[in-house]
């Protein structure tokens, strides 16, 4: 690992100031479950690591008028135990699906949203666009784990976040501060992720000197939610496709739906048409399969990843059934 400077501010303002040092060649450390390995393999470089774990305002989950605020250092386990998140089944299911005490006890929800792609070209030093000598390695090379949606441009990686699908489905926002101490904005999570055309654009809207401090998650009465991640292993793993849904229902009928797929595109991928088609319909196994078909009907797989389309279809179908308690328990 290359040497770097380590600072641990105790306030948000100090954190922003620290992030602005070294011309912004700085990185945020929360749980550290991914940053450390990225630094170890030299996939990213930084002059300064800003450890935000000592900032008191980032440590808790709090009730606000119309939802909850989750601080940037709240771990997966803390979120799972919080009564304030008891109604957000789809999020609890993803926490549970991590199946790794190490990640659950030190990884944070905000860190998950901000993590860099798992793309092996990125991790082997070819950047998030995975380019070498002007050619896209992911397009021509081994793209079995790459995007099947939103991949027409130079970015072929998939968004690594496991909580993005469920939180986008819930309509979450993230509170972003910086680059000046006064700057504060709430960005809808849907617009937080970026499909870069240039290496310098990054994978989120965050600019140098900015930091996500909180997730705002709406609380909606009677919302049914469900997530399904296609996980090859029953231990620590990352999904090869995932989906999360939020439904409002009347009896067996769907009044409103939001369907978001994960790990299929450089950003969380919202299945607008499929969600619209579900409205007014009775949600049973056949309908769930039909909606799954619709959700993936416009997929554009690369040379080696057509299989991911089938997985995404299954994820949509199963997340819908899970939301309404109709998923065979053996499939979870």
């Amino acid at each position: 690992m290359r040497p770097f400077e380590y600072v641990s501010p105790t306030t948000e303002a100090e954190a922003v100031e620290a992030l602005n040092g070294h011309d912004g060649q700085t990185m945020v450390l929360a749980g550290g479950t991914d940053l450390i390995s990225l630094l170890q393999r030299d996939a990213v470089q930084t002059q300064r690591v800003v450890d935000i774990k000592k900032i008191d305002t980032l440590k808790s989950i709090e009730q606000v008028d119309d939802g909850v605020l989750i601080g940037a250092t709240v771990t997966l386990d803390e979120a799972l135990e919080s009564p304030l998140l008891a109604g957000h089944d789809s999020i609890a299911q993803v926490i549970d699906g991590h199946r790794a005490i190490q990640i659950q006890s030190s990884g944070t929800l905000v860190g998950d949203l901000c993590q860099m792609p798992q793309c092996w070209y990125f991790r082997n030093g070819f950047g998030v666009l995975g380019r070498k000598d002007g050619e896209s390695l992911a397009e021509l090379g081994d793209n079995r784990y790459h995007a099947v949606f939103g991949n027409a441009g130079p970015a072929k990686f998939v968004c690594a976040s496991r909580f993005a699908p469920s939180m986008v489905a819930w309509g979450a926002k993230v509170r972003v501060i910086g680059p000046t101490p006064e700057d504060e904005q709430f960005v809808p999570l849907e617009y937080f992720f970026v499909t870069p055309r240039l290496e310098s654009q990054g994978v989120t809207v965050l600019k140098q000197g900015q930091l996500v401090t909180h997730i705002w998650l709406p609380t909606v009465a009677d919302m049914k939610s469900g997530s399904y991640e296609v996980l090859e292993s029953k231990g620590l793993d990352r999904p090869q496709a995932a989906a999360s849904v939020c439904l409002q229902t009347e009896g067996d009928f769907v009044r409103d739906a939001r369907i978001v797929m994960g790990h299929v595109a450089p950003t969380p991928w919202i299945a607008h048409e499929a969600a619209r088609a579900l409205v007014g319909q009775r949600l049973d196994e056949d309908m769930a399969g039909h909606i799954g078909d619709l959700a993936v009907s416009k997929a554009t797989p690369l040379s080696m990843n057509e299989y991911k389309v089938a997985m995404a279809r299954a994820a949509v179908k199963r997340s819908l059934l899970r939301a309404v308690g109709k998923l065979d328990a053996a499939l979870v």
Binding site: W120, N305, A314
Partner: protein, 721 residues
């Protein structure tokens, strides 16, 4: 023992041999007290880091280490390659830097000025036509015909043609390859001490010695514990020499362990094999012909799996076997647990199950119909398979649970069963054991052997304790250093036979000497004396305690050297083994889950039921890994080993293992043939059994291992049978 013959005691008389005994070093290992090479931190130890090639194939056009050497704290740089040399795979080692800390060594590596000129690479080991177009093949490395296979195929009732394959995997030793080397300036003791992660304590010393112009006796190799070798840790290796050279240059101990990526890329892989197979049979299942052409790679050498043992376990009357090697810019191969056998099995036994499906036969019955056609080696071991197939079938409740090909259920998740079988040698080799009995009652055995994690240390102690009639905790087993008498390198499942034969022989000789002293002192007939329960007995009459007997030894201990192998019935060779798999296949996601595995395994006389079974558990787990998820992925674009990390090199987690049912096959006939090695066989047929279960569940053959969700979904989409 009364007749004083070299033999094992009657089975019923054993106190320790044949028992379930926990490893004597288990607590040290589980609690972290056991020191591995990677744990060695002597005062003044320097740490080494490596510069490796990051291209599939490249020429080094510039290599200058001056800047690295100038970094404060960097002590020396060792060059594996020079300017102008070629690197032939991603991970080929260029240089090592030794420094006060690992971070400083990394700084040193980054300061090396190095430029590569990329050369064309070939890393696709599966696409034979592409390899031919790149002129990377070695054609006809096997081309062997027996009988008239074409005629037999033309005359057959049923002919099956299929494509099968199995990808390259790395050894993925948890403890990487490496050494901690120090030089000794004093007059006493060895000049070079290599604390080396090795499967060959007694034989790597000479490789260090010849490199540095020393006598073999001047080198001590020490390896008390090793975190996995699987066949890849027999040599001193250039990184071992580098550690020794850098230690010599600096006058400081140097520890050089490969980093994880290099560990996966460079110190060995298991070669791949892909095959087109044709099988012909009569209606009753008798196989009349085998034809196969297989190809694959073992790296730059251009070999593939051994065609001389194809088909596996069986020798059909008519056969034609061809093989083509592919020279690739992939890391080289080394022996991997049962070299060639898992791949041969994954090609042979899958084709046989598909033939059974075509015959509408239960594959267990197909095996039974062909037990008259075992190959020479399997035949020599007698007709074990029938009994083992029956026992495995009972444990799996095969007859009740087996269903016809593809009838695994109507839902998304299909369930199926598969079976495969294997064979292995396991004959003991030259090994010495030195047993010493002391006047204070201590009993000690020392061997320049090593415990790969298999329980060797425990087995040696059990044999000594049993032979001396002592409880296990009252004997000492010393291994892991070349200062002890010669122990064989541990490869080929030969160690348990070798060390237990030698230990038994030496211990018997030592005990007999002791009994002679007892006979004289107590004026009894020496030939009628036995030991047991910490005492010496004449029939049922206690003559004296073990302690009293040992007091007769005096100040010069009894020392006896025992050798293995001798044709004395203590050890034997050849094992069979049958495995069955019960899997569920999620046909929507392509995910395969293991419900249950059954393994029935013989290995002659079982010294320790627990460590023997744990070998089989380990074999099954490694088998599940290469069946479902584990593979080296080479990227055609960059020529790189693109998944050389613990995240993307996918190994199963505990939850992926399912229920493992292991039964040691050990009727008296097995006990009576003595000890046979067991390390390798249990990993051989696991992959084929699982592949066959997936085919049985879905009705579709997933032709290539590992059966990742991608391969399963691709196969289901193609629907090929």
């Amino acid at each position: 023992m009364a007749e004083r013959t070299i033999s094992w005691g009657p089975r019923a008389s054993n106190k320790l041999i044949g028992s379930e005994t926990t490893r004597i070093d288990g607590l040290d290992k589980a609690s972290g007290f056991a020191k591995y090479t990677a744990d060695m931190n002597q005062a003044g130890t320097l740490y080494a880091r490596l510069l490796t090639c990051k291209h599939g194939h490249a020429k080094i056009t510039r290599l200058n280490v001056d800047a690295a050497k100038k970094i404060a704290g960097v002590h020396t740089v060792y060059l594996f390659k020079n300017e102008g040399d070629e690197c032939n795979w991603d991970g080929d080692i260029v240089a090592a830097v030794a420094a006060e800390t690992a971070d400083l060594a990394e700084d040193g590596v980054r300061a090396i000025e190095v430029s590569f000129e990329e050369q064309p690479h070939v890393v696709d080991e599966q696409d034979l036509e592409a390899a031919r177009a790149a002129e990377a093949t070695k054609e006809g490395i096997v081309d062997r015909t027996v009988g008239d296979p074409d005629k037999a195929i033309a005359e057959a009732d049923v002919v099956h043609e299929g494509y099968y394959g199995i990808h390259t995997i790395s050894h993925m030793c948890l403890e990487p390859h490496g050494a901690h080397c120090s030089w000794n300036d004093g007059d006493d003791g060895p000049k070079l001490i290599a604390r080396h992660s090795t499967q060959a304590v007694s034989t790597t010393g000479k490789q260090f010695a010849s490199k540095f112009g020393l006598d073999a006796a001047d080198v001590r190799v020490v390896c008390n514990f090793i975190g996995g070798g699987f066949g890849s840790k027999f040599a001193a290796d250039e990184w071992g020499w580098a550690a020794a050279q850098m230690s010599k240059d600096t006058g400081r101990p140097v520890r050089l362990m490969l980093d994880r990526a290099t560990e996966l890329k460079t110190p060995g892989t298991r070669p791949s094999g892909f095959a087109n197979v044709t099988l012909a049979a009569k209606k009753d299942g008798t196989i009349t012909a085998w034809k196969s052409h297989h190809w694959g790679t073992n790296g730059p050498q251009g070999g593939t799996i051994d065609g001389n043992q194809m088909p596996y376990v069986f020798e059909f009357e008519n056969k034609k076997v061809e093989a083509t090697g592919i020279k690739t810019n992939c890391g080289p191969n080394r022996a991997w647990r049962a070299p060639n056998h898992p791949q041969l099995c994954a090609i042979t036994d899958t084709a046989m199950t598909d033939l059974a499906a075509k015959l509408k036969m239960d594959p267990v019955d197909l095996y039974k119909a062909n037990l008259g056609q075992l190959d020479k080696v399997a035949k020599e071991n007698g007709d074990l398979y029938r009994a083992q197939l029956d026992r495995a079938s009972e444990l799996m409740d095969w007859k009740k649970n087996f269903h016809a090909h593809g009838e695994g259920g109507t839902g998304a998740v299909k369930r199926g069963l598969g079976v495969a079988l294997h064979r292995w040698g396991g004959q003991s080799v030259k090994c010495e054991a030195e047993v010493r009995l002391f006047e204070d009652g201590a009993a000690q055995v020392s061997i320049g052997s090593q415990d790969l994690g298999t329980g060797t240390r425990t087995v040696i102690a059990m044999v000594l304790a049993e032979t001396c009639g002592l409880p296990l905790e009252k004997v000492t087993a010393k291994i892991g250093s070349s200062e002890y008498v010669y122990g064989n390198p541990s490869g080929g499942s030969i160690t348990v036979g070798s060390v237990s034969g030698g230990t038994r022989r030496a211990a018997l000789a030592a005990v007999w000497k002791l009994l002679d002293k007892v006979a004289t002192k107590y004026d009894v007939d020496g030939s009628g004396l036995t030991v047991g329960d910490e005492a010496v007995w004449s029939g049922k009459k206690k003559v004296c305690s073990w302690k009293d007997a040992c007091r007769l030894i005096g100040s010069v201990p009894i020392t006896e050297l025992g050798e293995s192998p001798l044709d004395d019935g203590l050890t034997s060779k050849l094992v069979g083994g049958v495995q069955m798999a019960d899997v569920s296949v999620d046909t929507d996601t392509g995910i395969v889950r293991i419900n249950r595995m059954v393994a029935v395994q013989d290995c002659g006389l079982v010294i320790n039921q627990m460590t023997a079974k744990s070998q089989v558990y380990g074999g099954l787990i490694m088998g599940i890994a290469y069946a479902l998820s584990e593979e080296r992925i080479m990227d055609n674009q960059t020529g790189r080993y693109i998944n050389a990390d613990m995240e993307n090199y996918r190994l199963p987690r505990i939850g992926d293992i399912g229920e493992l049912i292991v039964e040691m096959y050990q009727p008296d006939s097995e006990y009576n043939r003595g000890v046979v090695g067991l390390g390798e066989p249990p990993v051989i047929s696991t992959g084929a059994a699982i592949a066959n279960a997936v085919a049985n569940a879905t009705g579709v053959r997933v032709p290539v291992l590992p059966m990742t969700p991608k391969r399963v979904l691709d196969a289901l989409k193609g629907g090929q049978a």
